[in-house]
Symmetry: C2
Subunit: 347 residues, 2 copies
Amino acid sequence: MKTYSIALLPGDGVGKPVTEAAWDVLQAVAKASDFALEGTTFPWSCEFYKQTGAMMPADGIETLRRFDAILLGAVGWPAEVPDSVSLHGLLLPIRKAFAQYANIRPHRLLTGVSGPLKSDDFDVLCIRENTEGEYSGAGGRVHQGTADEVAIETSIFTRKGVERILRFGFEQARVRRGKLASVTKSNAQKHTMVFWDEITRELAAEYPDVEVASYHIDAMAARMVMAPETLDVVVASNLFGDILTDLGAAIQGGLGFAASANINPDRSAPSMFEPVHGSAPDIAHLGIANPIAAIWSGAMMLAHLGESDAAARIMVAIEATTKAGIGAIPGRDKTETIAKAVLERLL
Amino acid sequence: MKTYSIALLPGDGVGKPVTEAAWDVLQAVAKASDFALEGTTFPWSCEFYKQTGAMMPADGIETLRRFDAILLGAVGWPAEVPDSVSLHGLLLPIRKAFAQYANIRPHRLLTGVSGPLKSDDFDVLCIRENTEGEYSGAGGRVHQGTADEVAIETSIFTRKGVERILRFGFEQARVRRGKLASVTKSNAQKHTMVFWDEITRELAAEYPDVEVASYHIDAMAARMVMAPETLDVVVASNLFGDILTDLGAAIQGGLGFAASANINPDRSAPSMFEPVHGSAPDIAHLGIANPIAAIWSGAMMLAHLGESDAAARIMVAIEATTKAGIGAIPGRDKTETIAKAVLERLL
Ligand SMILES: CC(C)[C@H](C(=O)O)[C@@H](O)C(=O)O
Ligand SMILES: CC(C)[C@H](C(=O)O)[C@@H](O)C(=O)O
């Protein structure tokens, strides 16, 4: 029997219960299929940081590299550990070290879920560049603490980085509704964004079957709420993708429904699957975190591993659950209730 | 009688008819008040560029400096003149040359206007930094056209620039509902955005009467659609403000309703007033551009000049117009019909 080894990183706060829920569902679907999932849990988190002084051991990346995939909950506990430590010590280094350059975030309204828009015609796949761009970390400050202080931050875009994410987007558009929207701000950022637009035009010539359009990030944010039905695949830089996917999550009813995959398309290292939501320290003790985003992320993991049937079965069970009204209203049902409802609906 | 000299820059496309409509309303309200408006029209536009090779004459900035205020329509005709020429040759230089560092954009649903959200509880004032940050223009490219090509773009934030826009935001919050939301992305951009957060905290100590909260741009974009009623004044960098105000425009029913003021709060140079929408070359010949955003921007100009009563009268007339259903539905009514309806309702 095929066995996949999965690194489980529940992380902090609500990351733990939602990862547990996702893992239960994954195990159940594996049991009913012809593959096995072997999980190894790593307690890397802000708690771990407070005990050891690091978010993960020095050989953390090497340890993770052996796995077929990583399932992450959420990290961060800003009141106790600065984001600069928690995120830059775990989440962001993993995305970069494993060249998980394609961050895929599916946004659609599940049956039974009511979003904030009047329209419920919403099915957008966001592809976010995940390793460079505005998150490069380059920059610094001078004259600190004085009236003359200046801070700079440099975005770095490489042809390799832009080309591969756009290509990934074109391929996705091909197997969806054939439409690709590329997002920049080339009317104000003349170096990096004009560069991105040029590469988009070059690649468009290679994909005559894909209808491609370029939008500025401001216009795209407006379009997401005014005419979301006109969008299919949306590809954007690290920062712009971050913004659009939180907006997408909001439109699909909230972060409790927003799944994501950090994909290394070359399969030279493991990919990582995580709900878009954070660790939500403020509600962590209430037991009401919606595990649907984490379970959906788990389904994306199975699809990536090649177990598409099992992935599809999970999606059917999720949708049957929300259709029955369970987990459909943010904050109403317990994490366990929702997880149990999904498990019961796994055919 | 007090006379204000106004520079009119209708610009391109729909910029022309909406500026004309706004000017008619401004003249009418002036006539009924105790001040006069003297307009001088400058044909600076893409048309002008095609004839002269520049978007404005070399002494354009010096010419504008003599005026009490500038009323702009919209510039740009991307199919014929690249944005890098049209915007960087007129709009952006004016904002910078006149230290119009506060870009104010009021977002609320006018009576009779139906937005895309189910909720209609929406009244947010966005304050966007308008002279530095992500629009600094610093950057470049190496190994152009090769597989090794790299493009960089540097955001530059100064203490002076950040402090003054935040201070402006605090002052606005004071005279509104007392709440300020500061927007950054300090969990991923460690230099500039952490800097901004620090200055926010410093200033917060000076404004104990203002309730201040910091949000990441992704979370703020989500909040704008999920819980807009929790927001009062939102202050953000050039780029983040740009994104949030297009989103705000969408939520208030479309760009036809989104007004803006580029304010030089020190009054060392003229301020500029313009609708948020662009020149819309695709619909420019149809005669259906909504002039409400331009008229509202004109009202903001009067308020800035100290004519608050006249400004308020225009706002009442705008709202009576949309309440009557005129100009309330994007693309339905003619520019002239809407302008005439506002004029008729000027008490
Ligand atoms: C926590 C933060 C750094 C992260 C990001 O912006 O990448 C998160 O917002 C996300 O979208 O995964
Ligand atoms: C045209 C463009 C450069 C401009 C901007 O981003 O500043 C516009 O989008 C705006 O919001 O005024």
